[in-house]
Every structure is written in structure tokens, then in C-alpha cells.
């Protein structure tokens, strides 16, 4: 309950930041200043306030989590439903395709595509979604297959129910807890992946991201500033991921 309200609060804050365009970190002559009453988290090498940069990245991060949670899930659900109903050939092709996706470390194609495209927020979302639907597809395919042999479905079939009706009333509703868990898992993964890309410096430099803040911190590793540049993005990311984690249903929590 606490996690839920905390997450809601963060979302409201992000909405406010996005709507009002509020934290616009300004460059100043106060380079690498430690935390003070003016700059709560200190300043970076360009004299920008770190708290402002942290808040500036919040809406984008939440948007990534939301979109990358939903898009692969929808694609996976659609394809899994199709392949469960439409029969063998499509099913085999899709399975083979997901095999190939699962063998590759997701970061590899992501790095290369990112290098070519210098992606902004939208492109990052699309890239991550393309690379993470196979996971969802596999899990959902297995669940749908199981469900198609349940008594409810068999009975409804006996009364002459068509595939669309079966999916709508007897398969999808049962999958709901699973869908929620997958959504949260996708969201967690996408936050880490997009931060990873930004950390390697492969995203559009104008896109605010906590990974960029971590990269900036790493570049000051010889300087005492490292110790006030690191905690902000680190804690923000960990908190968000732990909050998302705590919302998952108990039994599917740790299968990421």
C-alpha cells in the first residue's frame, strides 16, 4: 500500500515536471560544488544543479517504463493469441524467431542501433520494445495453451463459441495477474536498459536520463564530486525499481 501511494506520488511529480517544463538546469560558474542550501545535491562540471537534472529526467524515465511495459506486452499477447489459435505453422515460425532473439544479449543490437540512430526518447522506447517482446510472447503462449484446455473453454467450445469470444471471455481475463507481472518486469528492465544506453553515451545527448547522470559521475571519479554526483541517480533508479518490484504478485516476483 505504501509502495503504491509512493509510486503514485512520483507519477504526479513527473506529470507536474512534464507539464510545467519546470526544472531547466542552468549552467553557472559554481562548478562541482558540494551539496549546500542552494544546491541540495550539489552541482556538476557545468555548474548545473544536480537535483534539477534528476527531476528533469523523471518524466522521460517513467514514460519509458510505462511504454516499454505496455508495448511488448500487447505485441506478445496478440501474437501469442494468434499462434495459439491459428495453428502450427505460424506458431513454429514465431517460436524459432523468439529463439533467435533470446540467444542474443539484448544490449548488443541495442548498442549498434543506438549508435546509428542516436535515439531520443521515442526511438529508445521503440528499440527496447522490439527487443523485449519475445520474452512476453513465450510466457503468454504457454499460459494461453494451458488455458485453452481448461474446462471453461472446453465447455464454451461445446456450445459453439468462436475464437474471438473464447479469448475475450475465457482466456484473457484469467491471464490478468500474469499480464500485470509481465508489465512490471518489462518496466523494470526498460529502466535499466535505457539507463545503460545513456551510460554508454549512445542516446541523444539532449535526452535527460539518469544513466547520463551516472556517466557524468563516473567521469568525476578522481574528484570528490563523485560522492555527491553518484547517490542522486543511483538512489532514484534503485527506488523506482524496488517500488515496481514490490508491486508484483509474490509468486512471479523474481523470474526476471
Amino acid at each position: 500500500m505504501v509502495a503504491r501511494s509512493l509510486l503514485l506520488l512520483i507519477c504526479l511529480l513527473a506529470l507536474f515536471c512534464w507539464y510545467s517544463d519546470w526544472p531547466q538546469p542552468q549552467m553557472s560558474s559554481q562548478l562541482l560544488h558540494p551539496p549546500s542550501s542552494d544546491h541540495w545535491l550539489g552541482t556538476d562540471a557545468l555548474g548545473q544543479d544536480l537535483l534539477a537534472r534528476l527531476l528533469q529526467a523523471l518524466p522521460g524515465t517513467l514514460a519509458t517504463a510505462l511504454a516499454c511495459g505496455l508495448l511488448p506486452l500487447l505485441a506478445g499477447l496478440l501474437l501469442a493469441s494468434l499462434s495459439a489459435l491459428a495453428g502450427n505453422r505460424l506458431d513454429r515460425i514465431l517460436l524459432k524467431l523468439t529463439d533467435i532473439f533470446m540467444i542474443m544479449p539484448a544490449i548488443l543490437p541495442l548498442m549498434i542501433l543506438a549508435a546509428l540512430l542516436e535515439p531520443g526518447l521515442g526511438t529508445v522506447i521503440i528499440l527496447i520494445s522490439i527487443l523485449s517482446w519475445p520474452d512476453d510472447f513465450r510466457v503468454l503462449r504457454a499460459a494461453i495453451r494451458r488455458q485453452l484446455f481448461s474446462d471453461a473453454v472446453l465447455t464454451a467450445r461445446g456450445f459453439g463459441a468462436g475464437p474471438a469470444y473464447l479469448l475475450r471471455w475465457h482466456v484473457w481475463p484469467v491471464l490478468r495477474p500474469l499480464l500485470e507481472a509481465l508489465f512490471l518486469q518489462n518496466a523494470r528492465r526498460s529502466v535499466m536498459l535505457s539507463a545503460g544506453l545513456a551510460f554508454l553515451g549512445l542516446t541523444d545527448p539532449r535526452m535527460a536520463n539518469w544513466g547520463t547522470l551516472l556517466l557524468d559521475a563516473q567521469q568525476q571519479i578522481h574528484h570528490a564530486a563523485f560522492w555527491w554526483m553518484l547517490p542522486g541517480p543511483l538512489l532514484a533508479m534503485t527506488t523506482l525499481i524496488l517500488l515496481l518490484n514490490s508491486l508484483s504478485p509474490e509468486e512471479r516476483k523474481h523470474q526476471a
Binding site: K96, I107, M111, M192, L242
Partner: protein, 333 residues
Amino acid sequence: MRGETAQTSARATALRCLRPVLDNLPALATLLICSFLLLHSLPGSQADALLTSDLGVAVTAEDHTRLQARLGLDRPLWQQFGSWLGGVLRGDLGYSRLYAAPVAQVLADTLPWTLGLVLVALPLSLLTGALPGLLAGMAPQTGGAKYLFALVTLLSSLPGFVIALLLLSLFGFTLGWFPTGGGISLEARLSGQVTLADLIYHALLPLLALSLHGSVRYFYLAWGLAQQISRRPFIRYARHRGIRGAGLLWRWYLPNAMPELLSRLSSSLPGILGATLFVEVVFSYPGAGALMLDAINNRDYPLLQGCLLLTGGIVLLGNSLLDLITTILTDRG
């Protein structure tokens, strides 16, 4: 008759062993095609790159066409793919402008570093994840187990590169116990005499970061497995006989959890390799990850293509090998 049956069963076994290898062939084909298309779809052709010079020589359209013909760029795409594939099979991956050396040679220099990290980190992460997981899962209600579980949950919320960054700043910079980057020390690089101790000393922090990152999934898996195993009668019997602690873990829990744990090894290879790329970048380790980022930042596409082929190849090869081992181990005739 008997001989014939034995022969067929031998053939069946061979087929069963070959299956995992064959299963990876479509992925290999995709990898090759994607790497080729990557280089091909980039803006600007090789002819442009060769003809562009600072001297301002007037280039006619005729020169351009002639060069394209010489480089074979006017042929259909599939023919170009064929000749490129032939080159790859002969070990010719092109020329890296950045390192002024053939790509194959640059890759051969970095391969041992990455491969070493991955090969050591894979079993290490199994060990550091599974044993605490089993131990905690044997008695999930105790304070220690709950504490451990919370700690691992915290660890699971950190991306691999953040773990690496924390380890580097703490042990490398603040405490100064370990080197802050590189694969060997400067003296070793200058004198050319590499000692094993020096290698291990430099690899320790990257390995630790990788193992911590990789161990999380094994911890949760082992935790769940231990609770399943606890419900089996032979465990209750063993407990009644007064077997506790390490003996129970080693002789009763571990053998029963082992098959499931080992079967996850091959599926965790992509994850470990992906994390390795990040960890190498953080520790400036001379492996494929750092090389790839170099190639990307300097737009050295043949090198990038080579890196992609190399890392993809490692995963495919490792996957086939692990599958093969699992098949042989589980083959009960």
C-alpha cells in the same frame, strides 16, 4: 539384428547431440545477414570514402563508377553478400582504420580477455548465487535468510554497470586495494612479461562485479528450489536423523537442485555477456566491450561488424556447447 539396433541407437544419440547445434544455425544465419546489412545500409559507400580527400582532386562520375566496379559495389546485393561471407569464412573481416590493422587481428587480441571474464564469471555466479540461495531457502523463516533475501533484492535493483562503478570507486579509488583499470599493469605491458598474479589482480574486481550481477537469478532460483525440496519426504527423514547445516546442504539439497541449476547456465550466457560489455567499459578492461564502444564512437564500421560477429559467435558457440553438455549428461540411453 543386435548390431543393427546398436547402430541405429548410436545414430539416434548422435542426432540428439547434434540437435542443439543445428538449432543454433538459423540464429547464426541471422547474425551473418544482420552484420552484413548493418555495414551495407550505412550512409556513404566505400567508394565515397576512398575518393574523398582533402586535396580537392576533381572526381568525375566516371572515376566513381570505375571504382565501384573495382570494389564490386555494382553487383547485386546477394553476390556481394556471397563474397563477403567467403571472406568471413577465410577469416578476412576487413580493415580497421582506427587501429590500422586487419579487424581479425584486433579481435584476436581482445578475445582472450572477454572470453576469460565470461568463462570464469559464469560458474562463479552460479556458485555465489546458488549456495547462499539454497542455504537461505532451507530455512526461509530465520532472520539471516530474510536479511540475505533483502540484500539480494537490493542487488537485483542495480544494473551491472552500477555495481561495477560502486566496486571500482570503493575498492579501486577510495581504499586503493585494487587497480583502477586495465588488464595488466603498466610495467608488465612495458616489459612484456605478464604474470598470472598480475592478471588475476586486475581481473578480480571485474569478475566480482559480474558474479554479483549474475548471481541474483541463481539465488532466487535456488531459493525456490530449496523450498520445493524441503517438502520432499527424504529431507524430513534426514532432518529426523539429526543431519543439519552444511552436510544437509551438500549431500541432500545440492544434488537435487543441481540439474535445474545447470540447465539455466546456457540461458544466462547472453545476460552475462551483455553485462561483461558494460563492466569492461567501466574498468577500461581491454576486451570486446570496450573495443565495441571505441568502434561506435569512432564510426569504425568494419570493426563494429567484427565485434558483433565475435560476441554473437561466442554466445552461439557457448550455447551449443552448454546444450551439448546438458544433452550428454542427461542422456540415459
